[in-house]
């Protein structure tokens, strides 16, 4: 996303496009990332339920993955995953 200059800001910073928050990729904040081990995953969906960002999605095969544009790497999915199918690893 190209950053605007101060002159280009709308008056009062009014956001006139609904849903435009999705353009902001909070995944850039991430220092760690979740890795799913589908051998351990039982497709219970608790990672999907607990993700505070709503970025965990179920694939057609029934397993889960995170949309890394928005995953902040908070680790809640890994903490909640009782079969311990998710591990958190350092970025980079």
């Amino acid at each position: 996303m190209t950053l605007k200059s101060w002159k280009e800001l709308p008056i009062g910073c009014v956001v006139s496009e609904p849903g435009s928050a999705s353009e902001y990729h909070t995944g850039s904040w991430r220092a760690q990332r979740p890795i799913w081990n589908n051998d351990k995953c039982i497709k219970c969906g608790i990672c999907y339920v607990f993700c505070p960002e709503g970025c965990v999605q179920q694939s057609e095969d029934g397993f889960f993955k995170a949309n890394m544009d928005y995953c902040k790497g908070c680790g809640i999915c890994a903490h909640e995953c009782w079969p311990r199918a998710i591990t958190i690893v350092e970025e980079g």
């Binding site: 950053l3 605007k4 200059s5 101060w6 002159k7 800001l9 008056i11 009062g12 910073c13 009014v14 956001v15 006139s16 609904p18």
Partner: protein
């Protein structure tokens, strides 16, 4: 031509606001502003004006309510004083950042503690950097004129900022003065309908007051600073227009016998008229004294201040508030800063006066002039003193 009448200034301010076709007011009563709240509430309850009067449980709620209402495109008004203004403080920069043209009267009163209900400027000074346009009234007529002008300035498409009109508590709010109240037709002619820059409406959803991180915060602050600075052009235009329509002119910095003065005093608010009498006394005694009155506090009128004091040898800045452990009174430090780069600036003295409603009589203003004149070596320049404090 408006009607000439004798009226308590706070009531007259509410009457004047009642002429401005407001859509809503949310005013929490607090001494010495209460008569504005009461009379505005009466005007709505009696069906004299078609507006909502939102009864709120605090000043924080009052400011929140006018922010919300202004966001929907309603012409919104509030008024407060002292502790009430301190309670609003959290929301003031939000109103200006959202560029909501709210107008507010501040019946200036000392801030606690100790509790004190009387007049000084310690309530407005902590709001200096809130991004509001701030003007000061010297008398009742100015209080009503500025209250009406405030809507036009705030709502101008090139401004879109909140405006506060400072009216000294009791010294002005509770005085009965002869006033010329504009007619409804005159105000209708002067004040166009409010056209908001955006509105909260389900038909066209927008977000106001969204979150911003470090990647945008600096640009947003810069845009706000430019908006406040640029508002001055509109303020001057509106005052010019007012002068033509009503014959009463307003300037960011006003002067009295200042052109040839060797020694000047600077005041803000109602004490200007008392200081003016001291100037007359000194002139009678052959002293070339003059007065500078600062009406526009934000945006700060740098060129006008420089022009007003450029020929003086000494300048006495009076302050109605204290910056504890700081560089002197808040007005003094700003004036000093404004004149810092000028090689031919006067020696600047600072007296902190009239705190918590303490009266400052004509002879005391004369005394300040005499004390500064006697300081031939400018020894006390660039320092501040609590005038009349008991040692």
């Amino acid at each position: 031509m408006g009607k000439r009448l004798g009226m308590e200034v706070a009531v007259a301010v509410a009457e004047a606001v009642g002429l401005c076709n407001i859509d809503m007011a949310a005013v929490y009563p607090i001494t010495p502003q209460s008569h504005i709240a009461e009379h505005l509430s009466d005007l709505v309850a009696d069906g004299k004006i078609d507006a909502e009067f939102v009864t709120v449980e605090s000043e924080h709620s009052a400011m929140s309510a006018v922010i919300g209402a202004s966001g929907t495109g309603a012409r919104s008004y509030t008024a407060t004083s002292s502790q009430g203004l301190m309670l609003m403080h959290e929301l003031l920069p939000i109103a200006s950042a959202m560029r909501l043209p709210i107008t507010m009267a501040i019946a200036n009163r000392a801030v606690s503690g100790p509790l004190n209900i009387l007049n000084d400027h310690s309530d407005i000074m902590p709001q200096r950097d809130a991004g509001w346009i701030a003007v000061f009234a010297e008398n009742g007529q100015e209080a009503i004129d500025l209250s009406i002008q405030a809507f036009k300035i705030a709502e101008h498409k090139d401004v879109m900022l909140p405006v506060c009109v400072n009216i000294d508590g009791f010294q002005l709010t509770h005085m009965v003065e002869p006033l010329e109240m504009p007619t409804q037709e005159e105000v209708n002619q002067f004040l166009p309908p409010f056209v908001p820059h955006a509105t909260l409406h389900p038909a066209k959803p927008v977000t106001m007051g969204a979150f911003a991180m470090s990647d945008y915060f600096t640009e947003i602050m810069k845009a706000k600073d430019e908006a406040v600075k640029n508002s001055k052009k509109v303020i001057l235009d509106v005052w010019n227009e007012w002068g033509k329509l009503f014959g009463r002119s307003y300037k960011p910095v006003e002067t009295y016998k200042a052109d040839d003065a060797d020694i000047l005093m600077l005041t803000m608010g109602s004490m200007g008229e008392t200081a003016q009498m001291a100037v007359d006394e000194l002139r009678d005694r052959g002293v070339k004294a003059g007065l500078v009155k600062l009406r526009l506090w934000r945006p700060f009128p740098f060129p006008e201040i420089k022009a007003a004091v450029k020929n003086a040898k000494k300048l006495i800045v009076t302050d109605r508030a204290v910056s504890f452990g700081g560089p002197g009174g808040p007005v003094f430090s700003e004036i000093k800063s404004a004149l810092f780069a000028d090689t031919r600036r006067p020696a600047i003295y600072n007296y902190i006066i009239g705190l918590g409603g303490r009266d400052v009589a004509v002879n005391e203003f004369a005394g300040m002039f005499e004390k500064v004149l006697a300081d031939t070596g400018n020894v006390a320049a660039d320092t501040y003193e609590f005038w009349g404090v008991r040692e």
